[in-house]
Every structure is written in structure tokens, then in C-alpha cells.
């Protein structure tokens, strides 16, 4: 054989590599030889470039079954897929599970917890994701919303919808939904005498008849296309219809709808099913043409005022939303320019795709609270991380215990097992584990689902959607694959010679990786702990924040009909006779309820162009005293000053916005326009700033008046602490005695406020449950590793004890190696968690500082939990009698 020259032409390396990968071993030499010989021939004939090109093509030409096939040998050709071998794999897998119960239990239970968490998160995300995805042509549906310099608003002035349809041929249809202020609940009445049904129902909206051309509702009774065509017609959701009529068809029946200003007859034209979720979330849809506020609605011609109509459009197929949006400024200026100029407001319109509204829109005056895609991302990643922690347990325990399996690997290899067959065997084992874990996880999920539904206020079901089952199967198999891949390759890499000599030492790289993975697990756990602690702190901060008034022991009774409003004075006098009641007042709204009314106020010698937008409530005289607002200057409303009908009390924010200060403001006159007339009012007092709605929002300019609108919407009573159920039943008796025509309902102000934070509270609850799960799984893994580590060092511990080491020293030694990992995890997790929570807190107007001791506390908590986990094994190992541990040698 002649020595090869240095600069000899070489065929392309990729092609050589490729050939060596796929070609059957027994043909490789000949083929390689022929190819190379031909290559040299081609180099001489056509030059190097062409020869290399040719070589590549030739190699590709060899990719054919007959060259790939393995040579048949005298032995079984399919050793790792034959029935006997598969049976053997199952047997070994089963024995392994049985022989090491602790590890198997840790693996299966950990994986099951992770999978169950993941399943529930998948259910939750899928449920949130479905909202508004059911509409036909949902890609052509848009909500037209409003933007001013300072805020974004989801509803528009009345005339916009029809003008949009008139001016733009690409709009197929437009529709409006009206959520009227004060209609958080309407009273539904049906029937007479004993069969009379009467209850308050929420989410009642007025809608144009075109609503069913835009949105898909699945009608159980009645026809969608004619449902709201006639005046005073109503469409009910299935749930509401069930409450009154059961399963009976109610179309054509007439219900009475009680509003604050009277009771009106509506005839039912349809019932829609509740199966599809929408951000509109309507329980009742009333026709816009009606005898209650229909007149007011048709009078709406102004383009600047009463931005309370939610406006939706459906584009023609192929129409471009972007180009339509570009034409909107011109449209608004042409149609509504004068009105806007008169009010001195500049605003613009923009489009929101309907399928995105629920998850991505959180702007002013949403119909009902929307979901949040951010939280979906957070939950999704938490689910993945928890599953990862469980997978890591599996990896760590499998590789740590590799000694036990090393002999098996050695024997199998000696008997002729291919490495691939071992990889398949171990992967198969991890798949079996994950399938077992899935079964346990399904059990856990089924038993926890009711609690979860209670927690998040949803009706999630496990087997609702066949698509979800696919997801679960996919997640399970991926889990098995991910958890098993590293152990499979690690275990199958053992060399029979070393292994069978009995020398198995985990390689340094494997140990380092194991430690790295433990650090990773605890980093995630600590981030979750920190997140949960900060979230809890923030929420309790918010809930205990001084709101500027006293929300304790305030009984609220809504007065939802003309008759109950008219009866206010009678009820008040009766209530005041009860010794438990300290004072009674009423107002158009009460704190904790969104204030929708606002007016533009301007000072003397100014015009409406310089006006300041101030939200207001119309209240009874003792409102300020009853709710415990603090006066900064001036006086509260009082009977001594006549009716105080043209007096107004402002908060500090409003005073500042108007350019006064608290003391100079008293006695100043303010003007506003109402019912097409200029009205005058005088500032008589200034109250300390208060948070009317929630601490998500900053304090807004706010005014209290005694006369602008009706004030007997809510009765508010300050009561003494004590037996509230007795008090409530007394009040209810009074309610019936004075002949009220609506059912008695009540709430306590602090509970109403609590409800404003329900969503945050829910999220904090969910995150803390996740945290607990993550810690449990991570500690399971730690427990397993420490058990293993103690078992491995039995002899060392024996020798140390014989030489005089104390139990404490040995336990400390065993715990130390894990403690170092935990400390490292704390160091990594703290800055990450700080960053994440800092971002989260930006969403609150009132927020806490993240204190250093939070990190110390979380770190300490983790250390304590992990010491408890590890020390169980450490102490057990340290207490062991050296005679026993050393005897075996």
C-alpha cells in the first residue's frame, strides 16, 4: 500500500460521512473503494470540482433499500422487536418498579403531579382560548373603539355605528350593544300568584337587531334573524330561560323587566344556548327600540357625548381592516368634527379584532371583565416548568441509580444487544412510567377539578373535547421521551468490560449535570415562592389600604324599582329605629361600584371648552358622615342649609384639576351643562382623596352632588358590629312590611370591595397552589437523591462512626452537599424573581416595595424544607449501627 500524499484530492466529507452512516456494514468497504477509485479517475478526467460533485451524486444514488439492509446473520435478525425480547423488557421494567418501590413511587407520583398540573392548565388555557372563536367569519369581525390622549375606551357615541355602515361600502353590517349605567342587574318578573317567578339578573344589554348578523348565537328556540326586529322584544340565555320556564319553549311569552325608573313588558322572541363563550357574555338581550329608554336612544345624535354604545362591524369578504382604519380619522372629522370641537375633545377611532378582545383588550368600559393573555402565558410556563421539575427527578434518579442497572446493561451487551436496542428498552421504560403517571394524574385531576372550578369560577370538564385528549396523550409521550432520553443514552453507554468487573463510577460530567439539574429545580421553586409571597403581600396591602373612607360595617341595599326608590324615606325612618343602625343615607352609586356618570365642569368666566371632566355621584345629605369621608375644608351637606340642591363637594384631585386649592375653593361657583341648559353650582366642601373603585386605578377627580340625577339607587346604612344575620333578617322584615315590589337583596361594602380584587386574589391563590406543587415535586426528587446518596455511602459512614464521628457530624456532612445546591439556586432565583415581580407590580397604581427580607424569608423557607427532606435520610444513615453496615465486607 503506497503512502498517501498530503495534497491528494479528497471527496466531499459530508458524502463520505453520509455513506458510512446509512450503508450496510458488509458492503461498505467495497462501495467506498469503488467510489474512491472512480473519484480519482474522474479527477484525472474532469478535474476536482466535477469529480467531487460526481462523488456526492454517486453516494446519494446508493440510498436504496438493498444497500441499507443489514446482513442477515444466523442469529435472530430482529432481536429488539421480537415478542420474546419485548416480553423480557416488560418483565424487567415491572421488576424494577417492584424492587425499588420508593424510587418508583417518587418517579410516578412526581410525574403524576406534574402531569395533573399540566392537564389542568391545558384545560384552563383551552377554555380561555375558545372565547369568541366560534363566530363564523370571526376574522371579519371588529369592535370599533375610542382613543383619547389619556385613555382608551371600548364604546362609542350612538350615531357612529349607522354612519359607519352608510359611509363605507366594505362594511357588511354594523351593530351596537348598550350596557346602561345602573343596569348591573335588572329585575325579571313572570307570572302571577303562586307560580310567580321574580329575580335579579345580571348582564342585561340592549342590542340592535343586527347583532345576530354579526355574532353567531346558537338558538334553542326562536329564530336569530328576526329576534330583535320588533320593539320591546327580548332574547334570553338558556340559563335565564331555564330559571323561569324550565325546558319549555317561552317564545311569544311576555316578561316584565324592572328598571330603576319603571317596569316594562318585553315579549320573548328567542332563547340562545350558553355553549359558546363570548366577551359579551350576555344573559339577556333587549331590543334597542323599546318603551323604556328607546326614546332616549333614538335622540342620540351627538358624536362627542354618551360614549356608551359598544359598536361592532362585520367587513365584506376580502375587505382590508387596515385600510379601513386609515380612513377613520377623516370619517370622524367629517361626521362628528363639530360636536367634538364644541366639547373641546380630540379623539380617534381604532379597530379591535373580535376574537382578540377577550384575551388582549383591557380598556375602559369593557362589557364584562376580560381574561388576560399574560396570565395564560404565566400559567402555561408554570405548567411546563413543573413538568420539567418532575422530568428532572426521573432523570436524576435513573442516572444516580445506574449502578443497579449497570450489570444488566453489561450482560445484555455481552449477549449481543445493540446499543439502540438498549436505548429503546430504557425509553420504553420511561414511557411506561409516564403512562402509569398519566393514569394517576387523571385520577388526581378528576378529584381536584371541582375544587379548581370553584377556585376559578369556571366549569371545566376533563373529557369535553377530543382534541384535548390528543393534547394529553402528546404531553404524556413527550414527558416520557424527555425524561427518558438522557438516562437511556447514559445507561446504554456503559462498556461491558468495565461494568462487569464491578467498577461503576458515575462520571464527573454526569454528577455535575445531576447537580445542575437540582439547582435548576430549586431555582424554579424559589422563583415561584417569591412570586407567591410578593403577590400575597401586594394583595393584602391593597385590601388594607386606607381608601379615604370607612368600608367596615356598611350595609348596602339596592333600590331597583321606582316604588322602592320612592319608599326610601319610609324605609330610612324605620331602619333608624333599629338600635343596631347608626345612620342611613342613599346615593346614585356607592363605593366599589363603577361610576359611569361624568360631566364637564368649568369655572366662572370660562366656557365649556376649558371644562374639566369630573365623575360624580348624586347623594343624600348624610352620605359623607355615614361613609366616613374626611373633610379637608368646608362642610358636608346638611339639612340646615335648605336642600343644599345647588351645592357640590369635590375631592382634592378635582380641586387641583380645576386649579384651586382646598381653602380657596370653598364658595367658588362651577358650571356644567345638563339637559341643554347651563347649570350653576357652588363648592361647599372638599373631601380628602378617596378610592371609589379599586386601587388598580389612581384617584380621579370626583364630585358629590345632591341633585344632578336620582339619588335613591342604593341605601347605605352604617351598622354596629354584631350578629349580622339577625340584623339582615330584621331589615328584610321591614322591607316586606313597607310593601316593596322587588325581592330583598343586600351586600356589605367591604365584601363589594373584596370582589374588585377577586381576579387578583384568584391568580395569587392559583400561583401559591402551583408553588406548593413545585416544592413537593422538587423535594420528592431531593428525597430520592439523598436516600440514594446515603445508601451509597453506607460503608463510609460506618468507617467514620467507628473512628469516632458523631451522629450530628455525619448528618451534617450528608446534608451539606445538597444545601450548597439550594444556596446556589437561591442566588440565581432572587434576581430573576425580583425582575418578574417588579414588572407585575407596575400594573397597580398602589404598590408595595419588594423588600430584601422577602428573599431572605423565601430562601430560609426553602432551606428549612430541604433540610427536613434531606435530614430524614441523613439522620437515618448516621444512626445506623456500623457493625451492620461494615459486616458485609
Amino acid at each position: 500500500m503506497a503512502p498517501l500524499e498530503k495534497n491528494e484530492p479528497k471527496p466531499p466529507r459530508w458524502a463520505e460521512w453520509l455513506l458510512s452512516q446509512f450503508c450496510a456494514q458488509h458492503m461498505l468497504e467495497t462501495i467506498q473503494g469503488d467510489l474512491l477509485e472512480e473519484f480519482h479517475y474522474q479527477v484525472r478526467l474532469n478535474g476536482l470540482t466535477k469529480a467531487r460533485w460526481q462523488y456526492g451524486l454517486e453516494v446519494l444514488g446508493f440510498i436504496k433499500p438493498q444497500f441499507i439492509r443489514k446482513r442477515s446473520s444466523g442469529f435472530s435478525p430482529h432481536s429488539y422487536f421480537s415478542f420474546n425480547m419485548l416480553f423480557n423488557y416488560f418483565k424487567i421494567a415491572f421488576r424494577n418498579v417492584r424492587n425499588s418501590k420508593v424510587y418508583s413511587a417518587i418517579n410516578i407520583f412526581g410525574l403524576a403531579l406534574g402531569l395533573a398540573t399540566c392537564l389542568m392548565i391545558i384545560l384552563y388555557i383551552a377554555d380561555e382560548w375558545q372565547v369568541d372563536k366560534h363566530h363564523a367569519d370571526s376574522d371579519r369581525l371588529f369592535r370599533v373603539s375610542l382613543a383619547t390622549q389619556s385613555e382608551r375606551w371600548s364604546s362609542l357615541a350612538g350615531p357612529v355605528a349607522s354612519s359607519l355602515k352608510q359611509d363605507f361600502p366594505e362594511i357588511e353590517v354594523s351593530t351596537r350593544i348598550l350596557k346602561f349605567s345602573g343596569f348591573e342587574e335588572v329585575l325579571l318578573k313572570y307570572g302571577e300568584g303562586s307560580s310567580k317567578k321574580e329575580f335579579f339578573e345580571q348582564n342585561a344589554y340592549y342590542a340592535d337587531s343586527t347583532i345576530f348578523d354579526v355574532f353567531n348565537y346558537d338558538f334553542k328556540f326562536g329564530l336569530a334573524n328576526a329576534a330583535l326586529n320588533r320593539p320591546n322584544t327580548v332574547v334570553l340565555s338558556e340559563k335565564v330561560a331555564d330559571k323561569i320556564f324550565g325546558n319549555e319553549n317561552p317564545v311569544g311569552k311576555v316578561v316584565k323587566i324592572g328598571l330603576a325608573f319603571g317596569t316594562f313588558d318585553y315579549s320573548i322572541t328567542g332563547v340562545f344556548r350558553d355553549n359558546n363563550k363570548s366577551h359579551i357574555n350576555a344573559h339577556l338581550l333587549l331590543s334597542m327600540q323599546n318603551s323604556d329608554i328607546g326614546g332616549w336612544i333614538t335622540e342620540q345624535r351627538n358624536w362627542a357625548a354618551n360614549n356608551i354604545f359598544h359598536t361592532y362591524i362585520k367587513l365584506l369578504p376580502g375587505a382590508n381592516a387596515k385600510s379601513l382604519e386609515a380612513k377613520l380619522p377623516e370619517f370622524l372629522a367629517r361626521r362628528g368634527g363639530n360636536d367634538l370641537k364644541a366639547m373641546g375633545i380630540s379623539k380617534s377611532l381604532f379597530l379591535q379584532p373580535v376574537p382578540d378582545i377577550y384575551l388582549k383588550s383591557n380598556i375602559g368600559n369593557e362589557l364584562s371583565p376580560n381574561g388576560s393573555i399574560t396570565y395564560l402565558y404565566i400559567f402555561g410556563s408554570i405548567g411546563i416548568f413543573i413538568l420539567l421539575i418532575a422530568c428532572i427527578n426521573f432523570m436524576n434518579l435513573s442516572t444516580a441509580r445506574s449502578e443497579k442497572r449497570a450489570r444488566e446493561v453489561g450482560i445484555r451487551k455481552v449477549m449481543g444487544a445493540y446499543r439502540e436496542s438498549l436505548v429503546f428498552q430504557f425509553l420504553g421504560e420511561s414511557m411506561i412510567m409516564s403512562v402509569l403517571a398519566l393514569l394517576v394524574a387523571l385520577g388526581i385531576t378528576v378529584s381536584l377539578l371541582p375544587a379548581l372550578n370553584h377556585l376559578i369560577g369556571k366549569q371545566l370538564q376533563l373529557l369535553n373535547d377530543p382534541f384535548l385528549l390528543l393534547w394529553m396523550a402528546g404531553v404524556t409521550l413527550l414527558t416520557g421521551l424527555f425524561a427518558g432520553l438522557y438516562p437511556a443514552f447514559y445507561l446504554s453507554s456503559f462498556r461491558p468490560v468495565t461494568v462487569l468487573k464491578g467498577k461503576v463510577m458515575s462520571s464527573l460530567a454526569a454528577i455535575a449535570l445531576r447537580k445542575g439539574l437540582v439547582v435548576f429545580q430549586f431555582t424554579i421553586s424559589i422563583i415561584l415562592i417569591l412570586g407567591a409571597v410578593v403577590a400575597w403581600q401586594q394583595l393584602s396591602f391593597i385590601q388594607n389600604q386606607n381608601l379615604g373612607f370607612d368600608k367596615g360595617q356598611k350595609l348596602i341595599i339596592p333600590l331597583k324599582s321606582t316604588k322602592t326608590s320612592a319608599n326610601y324615606s319610609v324605609l330610612r325612618n324605620e331602619l333608624l329605629r333599629n338600635p343596631r343602625v347608626l345612620s342611613v343615607t342613599s346615593g346614585s352609586v356607592h363605593p366599589g361600584v363603577e361610576t359611569m356618570e361624568d360631566l364637564l365642569f368649568y369655572k366662572e368666566n370660562q366656557t365649556v371648552q376649558q371644562a374639566v371632566d369630573i365623575h360624580f355621584a348624586t347623594v343624600e345629605t348624610e352620605y359623607i358622615e355615614t361613609l366616613g369621608f374626611t373633610m379637608v375644608a368646608g362642610r358636608p351637606f346638611s339639612k340646615e342649609f335648605g336642600a343644599d340642591s345647588s351645592s357640590i363637594i369635590l375631592n382634592e384631585a378635582a380641586v387641583k384639576k380645576l386649579g384651586f386649592d382646598a381653602t380657596t375653593a370653598i364658595g367658588k361657583r362651577l358650571y356644567y351643562e345638563f339637559g341643554n341648559a347651563r347649570r350653576e353650582t357652588q363648592i361647599v366642601g372638599v373631601v380628602k382623596d378617596f378610592n371609589f373603585e379599586s386601587l388598580h386605578t389612581a384617584i380621579r377627580p370626583y364630585a358629590l352632588s345632591t341633585s344632578i340625577t336620582g339619588k335613591h339607587q342604593y341605601l347605605i346604612a352604617d351598622v354596629r358590629k354584631g350578629d349580622y344575620s339577625k340584623l339582615v333578617s330584621d331589615v328584610e322584615k321591614l322591607w316586606l312590611k313597607i310593601g316593596s315590589d322587588t325581592p330583598f337583596t343586600y351586600s356589605f361594602l367591604d365584601q363589594d370591595f373584596q370582589r374588585r380584587y377577586e381576579k387578583d386574589q384568584r391568580i395569587a391563590d392559583i400561583i401559591s397552589y402551583f408553588t406548593v406543587i413545585a416544592i413537593i415535586i422538587a423535594c420528592l426528587g431531593l428525597f430520592g437523591l439523598s436516600t440514594f446518596s446515603a445508601a451509597q455511602r453506607t460503608r463510609e459512614i460506618g468507617v467514620r462512626k467507628v473512628l469516632g464521628a458523631s451522629v450530628a457530624e455525619i448528618a451534617g456532612m450528608l446534608s451539606k452537599e445538597f444545601l450548597i445546591l439550594i444556596l446556589l439556586a437561591i442566588l440565581i432565583a432572587s434576581p430573576l424573581a425580583w425582575f418578574g415581580m417588579h414588572r407585575w407590580l407596575q400594573g397597580f397604581a398602589y404598590k408595595i416595595e419588594i423588600k430584601w427580607w422577602v428573599f431572605a424569608l423565601s430562601g430560609l423557607l426553602t432551606i428549612v424544607v430541604s433540610i427536613l427532606t434531606v435530614s430524614w435520610q441523613s439522620i437515618k444513615a448516621a444512626l445506623m449501627d456500623p457493625v451492620r453496615s461494615l459486616r458485609s465486607n
Binding site: E37, E38, Y41, L57
Partner: protein
Amino acid sequence: MKRTYLGEFEEIMLLTVAVIDGDAYGVALMHEIIAQTGRELRLNQVHAALMRLEEKGMVKSTMGQPTAERGGRRKKLFSVTVQGQRALEEIRQVRESLWGRLLNPPKLSVA
């Protein structure tokens, strides 16, 4: 017994192996066939045909000496088996008899 069927390319391959007996391996066979027939040929086709012939028992192979231009790899040398010989002869006989009849058309007997 049914005769083993030989394809056209296999027949040429088998003949070529017989012709360059003693040094019949992949590249040499390919070059010879290209020279003789002028057709486009790739090594994988040559190898596939040789494999088929070997499976049919027409040729047998031995490993030869390694050479430098093969990167120190051995050649796989093919030679025709008795069965292959017989198959070639049979084919030749069939062809010759057919050709013979074409050149000397049988006379029609006249009464």
C-alpha cells in the same frame, strides 16, 4: 425447473464479468460497459446488478488486494459460476438459432 430470468442489463453485466475474468470488480466493470455500449452508468446501478446476479447464483465473489487509489480498501472480485456460464450459453444458443433462421429462411415444400 423454471429457468432464472436475466434482464438485459444483467446479461451484459454477466458477459462483461466473463470477458474480463480475473479483474472484474465494480469500477472496472462500469468502465468496460461504458466503453462497449456508450451508455450512461452509475456505480450504484453496477453494484445493484452485481448483487442481483450474486443472489441468483450467476456470479460469485472474493475479496481481492487493497490498493492505494482505493484508500487501502479491498476490491470485490467477481467471477462467473457454472450456472452463470450455462445461462450465458443458453441465451447464446437461443439467439443464434433465431439469427440462423433469419438468414436461411425455411423453404416451402411444393408438391
